[in-house]
Subunit: 379 residues, 2 copies
């Protein structure tokens, strides 16, 4: 299960680099230390898993600590509280919400619940790999449709693949898309949903929803009351900084939600994750802080890439896909030698690397390294 | 998802009861409060979900607090550490271990991975309900075999049902059995495993393994290297006091483990649960403390039942099934009115209630209530 690679024993960042981490001036966006907690013991800078470098919000940290004495109890009541809080935030009702062990469990139960002998799973290439992984044990024919030249989902091609299928279809739309960070037109998606029969099950993954700044982007949640064939997946792993806590959710028609719940693992969300999720939802500044620090990190990253004349895709997320003028695996290895974990190979984009946004000072360490790589003729 | 019912707004325990909770003398088995943590805010005594009243071990509490600053990171490295630690404890290797989101996910992936058109799931009645729930979305014929008059699994009957099936079988053996707390002869189970073909998949649930004191009981882990058709499920929810943390595991042949992993949810264990699990495994006194307090609770419980001449099954777990001379639902409601959550109805045993062991002082509250019920002619 090590699809990511958090080599904690990796090379240490040099003393100069660590000095800068401590000394970075100006912004105090990072969550303050809760008294008594130790700082991260990591000796590497992790820019490879689209995590939120701010960590849990201060109020979520306190909520977790407060919940520890009850961690011996099954978490049923807290599940309902969180579903209610999410429903209130999203303008739906709790019967529209299902909680998952991360949003990855949501994707898993979607393909399980929609599995059918002649079914087709249609998804982009590249896109987030989880749903394609989960269908491997099922009976889908999987149709991967390359992104357009503008790195959007190729909706027309995807429609054609659905039409060519022999039975029902699951359509996975990751918007913004991972690993490209790019958007697909919501109007185009809406038109498809509007016209599609109920045998086309839309799984719209909005894991990075809260990071999007582009106008003309909106959630597919607008469809869920009228269209039982639209499921929206969201997560606490990204803007909420809770990747290690494993908490995601789906928003769907009550009947669809009921059907998906049949496939969930019992008590699938940890009680401390539920406590952190509730506190995070109540932290009104959390999303703004996450977007602000992400924007600073993106600016540092883009400035460096511009200076080196390395192209990049227009990110609407907390990561950015950029050119490296060479082999991704070699590039990743060289960065790792400097204590920087960046991306992983994406076969569809071999001369690109996906860079997750860290703290601004971490991005400056990366920029320094990349400048050095240019001097060495590596990028 | 509220199969249990932790009504946190339930009736408060009377002032006298709470006073006794605080004043209980003699034993200091309960985990001490970590400074800064609040005590449980529950106003009810929960004796209905086979949780461990001691909570997380002190070292696990500290480990969770220490892990909070990294809770924004995916938990891959910690997964491997925990698998290694479990393997070392059990005398197997890490490739024999799979981690689950509670042991319930283990049961879920067993029926998923073994699903076959003509398959049969054979299990006891009553037994833990999870595996029967999970098979509902699959193609099994389910065969429920009543326990023997001694409340053991009826191995001969179960064998007969397997033989009568048209295809492969999954055999679920919960030992000790939930909700009865009773043992099935390990020698009898061994003889079946020895003789069975590979098409019979044994799922041996040892959630309560650490509580067993009876001689002649042993783990089915002894089989896993030679028999790929034996899977043992274990949990951190019971003796480790981590029910809210959702962490379980299976021990199986490497090839079986590989097959089951295909069905797991990605990153299925929360990083704080992994930290608590590691610390708990390192806490050498944890199991003994859990058994000791459980034994005191069982003694209080049995003494009360003996005094009232209410029969009970010979428990080898952290709960006990006893007669109530009446309707279970009514009994549960009456206890609830006194702030005591006890059991839930088990259709196979309508005049019994399953009582989970709490702290000794909590069992005394229950005993007082039961004595009072007798005076009222209710039990």
């Amino acid at each position: 299960m090590d699809r990511r690679d958090f080599l904690r024993t990796g090379a240490a960042v040099g003393a100069a680099g660590l000095g800068r981490l401590v000394a970075f001036p100006g912004m105090s966006l990072a969550a303050p230390q809760v008294p008594g907690q130790e700082a991260s013991s990591s000796s590497v800078v992790r820019l490879n898993s689209n995590e939120n470098p701010l960590g849990l919000s201060p109020s979520a940290r306190l909520a977790v600590e407060k919940a520890i004495p009850e961690a011996n109890r099954y978490p049923d009541a807290a599940r309902e509280e969180l579903a209610e809080a999410l429903a209130a935030k999203l303008g739906v009702t709790a019967d529209n919400i299902i909680l998952g062990n991360g949003s990855t469990e949501i994707l898993q139960v979607i393909v399980q619940a929609s599995n059918a002998p002649q079914g087709t799973l249609v998804l982009a290439d590249p896109t987030f790999e989880a749903i394609a992984w989960y269908q491997r044990t099922l009976t889908y024919a999987t149709e991967k449709v390359p992104l357009t030249s503008g790195f959007a989902h190729d909706i027309q091609q995807m429609k054609d693949r659905v039409a060519a299928g022999k039975g029902p279809a699951v359509v996975y739309l990751c918007n913004p898309n991972n690993p490209t960070g790019t958007l697909t037109s919501c109007a185009e998606i809406d038109a498809w949903i509007e016209a599609a029969p109920e045998t086309v099950q839309f799984a719209v993954d909005e894991a990075y929803f809260e990071y999007v700044k582009a106008p003309g982007y909106w959630s597919a949640i607008k469809w869920i009351q009228d269209r039982p064939n639209v499921i929206v997946a969201r997560t606490f792993s990204k803007i909420y900084g809770m990747a290690g806590m494993r908490l995601g959710y789906a928003v769907a028609h009550p009947e669809t939600a009921r059907r998906l719940r049949e496939y969930l693992t019992w008590d699938n969300a940890n009680s401390l994750a539920l406590a952190a999720g509730l506190a995070s939802l109540a932290d009104e500044g959390l999303e703004a802080r996450g977007r602000a620090v992400n924007e600073v990190a993106l600016t540092i990253t883009r400035n460096c890439l511009d200076e080196l004349d390395l192209g990049y895709l227009p990110s609407q997320a907390n990561f950015l896909m950029h050119r490296i003028n060479g082999d991704a695996k070699e590039y990743i290895g060289r960065m790792r030698e400097r204590g920087l974990h960046v991306g992983r190979p994406f076969p569809a984009l071999p001369s690109y690397n996906r860079l997750s946004m860290g703290l601004p000072e971490e991005m400056e360490l990366w920029a320094e390294a990349l400048m050095d790589f240019r001097q060495k003729g590596w990028v």
